[in-house]
Symmetry: C2
């Protein structure tokens, strides 16, 4: 079988969970597995867990590791693609981790390992197999504990001069606004991420507003305002949560409008855990606010703003797309196979 | 002579002046001419003036109109490239003007006429012949009565799905801030354009602050805060002008940081009349503020922020670049010339 026809392993390495999928050449998931990310012990237990899950999905796909052409990983941070190194992944507390080499060692197999940013690969997934299929220019905005983005131009990922493009969470929306974890003030991330919503909900409760969120939090076993807590509070028409959520939607709408005015994509896909859960309930008002703030309002119908279609499969599927693109580039670098030399028989 | 070797006419059609240049295949200006844009009489006198200036530079280059391969125009607004129509140019008060056809009629010659946005062509000029030479990804931010931008990715202009990319003046920097002419609040243009500076200077003077600006304005014969009035007031250390200018620089720095966080270009070139005049005096503080607000601060040295090198030649030279690109595309569409058919002799 040609390299292009062999399956690849696509991995979404998140700060909360690891999601591994065996993906065939048409983008079908043959087998998949998930586990919690073992945090706090450095890279070693995480890489061990990834190797375990890879074993599970390879077996589940009915093949062997040597039948796969590559492993490809969406990483929540900055990567050095050439060297196969995770430069910085704040949620994992990793700096300068040679993930390609360590994973090959853990697997005991020299299969190529490709790395990409998690949001970039999720946008690649939506572009190849999700709601962005058939578009030439696609922008992805992913809302989670932070806000990340990915940009596809002329069908290819735009990674930028320092591999740092797409940091849409650090567009300054409100000069002098709340402090962002990047150190600046008024970034979109400081106004509309889940972390920002959590801060705003807690501030309102501290002011004495009545809300069911503290009750939901204590039942959920984590002090973090997760997507599921937000969704449940909204479903119960909790006033504090509704107010904070609507403000976040408005800020996301302003961000999306600013980005459309700069990039003019065919489509904006909104993703991340909260949008996977709420879909149109989240995107509806973002779209409305964004449309109201576009410069070329007469051509509104030409800019689509849609919720993620692939949900949590976007990143592993996109990682598989990334692997195929890199294999093609490497194949082209090596050149076409030469003519077969006929050995003269004596 | 091949089409690629023949000179082209590059035109900067501005709301204040028209600048026409005969440009050879290496980007050298053979001859140029300028005139005030005759406003208030619709397209006809403007097109008549352009035709006159074209005659002057063609003659000045020592050639004839038929020796040129194309005319190419940077227009201050939105154009339909395919149809050769100016869709909307607010400073000229034009809507749906078939400029290609009208100019060909005025010239009495069917030379191809190409249209592009004025900022886009200026960025093309800086990319081919100016400070952006050799870069792959370049962002241009042009500050005038408005704020416009142009984006070059992988060496080519990124025009977007609706030919509307690069509207960097309508990134929202200060949610709820001053009203912009686009109808929104807090756009970069409403905070840092020359129009915004004019409004801020007048507001401070109305509050009783002492300034030499009113005196400079009455001597300049226009109520508009032109680049030359700003430069003269700054040179005299006028407190009001200095305060307003520094605030604009800070806002431009925040805008540039936001755009670098999204696009991650190799270089940002700052242009427009005020920057042509002030150069580093304007860009120094923009660079400082932008660098302080970048996400990847450890790779600062990889992002250059520079003042325009070509000044008012950027747009006519860039228009010439646009013409050559379009001629190449059209040539490729027509395919290579077929083999010459030998006519049998009897």
């Amino acid at each position: 079988m040609n390299v292009e026809e062999r399956p690849v392993v696509g991995i979404d390495l998140g700060g909360t969970k690891i999601h591994v999928a065996a993906v065939d050449a048409e983008g079908a998931i043959l087998s998949s597995a998930r586990a919690r990310t073992p945090l706090g012990g450095g890279p070693e237990p995480v890489i061990h867990e990834m190797a375990e899950l890879i074993g599970v999905v390879v077996k589940g796909s009915g093949a062997e590791l040597k039948d796969f052409s590559a492993i490809s990983i969406g990483v929540p941070g900055a990567v050095d693609e050439e060297e196969g190194v995770v430069e910085w992944a704040p949620n994992l507390e990793w700096r300068q981790v040679p993930l390609e080499r360590l994973l090959q060692a853990a697997l005991g197999h020299p299969l190529p390992v490709f790395l990409g940013n998690d949001v970039d690969v999720a946008v690649l997934g939506e572009h190849s197999y999700g709601c962005g299929r058939g578009t030439s220019d696609l922008l992805g905005v992913f809302v989670g504990t932070g806000i990340g983005g990915g940009i596809i131009i002329d069908g290819a990922l735009h990674s930028g001069a320092r591999h740092a493009a797409g940091e849409v969470g650090h567009v300054i929306l409100k000069k002098g606004g709340p402090r962002c974890r990047c150190g600046n003030r008024g970034c979109a991330e400081a106004l509309a991420s889940r972390t920002a919503m959590e801060r705003q909900v807690k501030a309102l409760i501290k002011k004495g507003r009545s809300s069911i969120v503290p009750d939901l939090l204590s039942r959920s076993g984590t002090p973090r305002l997760t997507s599921s807590v937000i969704a449940r509070a909204l479903a119960k028409n909790d006033k504090v949560m509704t107010r904070v959520f609507r403000r976040a939607q408005r800020n996301l709408g302003l961000l999306v409008a600013s980005l459309i005015n700069v990039l003019d994509p065919e489509m904006v896909v909104i993703g991340g855990g909260l949008c996977e859960r709420l879909g149109e309930q989240m995107v509806g008002r973002i779209r409305q606010v964004a449309h109201a703030h576009l410069l070329l309002k007469e051509r509104l119908d030409q800019v689509k703003i849609e919720p993620t279609l692939l949900r949590d499969r976007a990143a592993p599927l996109g990682a598989a797309v990334l692997a195929r693109q890199r294999l093609l580039v490497e194949g082209a670098r090596r050149g076409p196979p030469g003519p077969e030399i006929e050995v003269p028989r004596h």
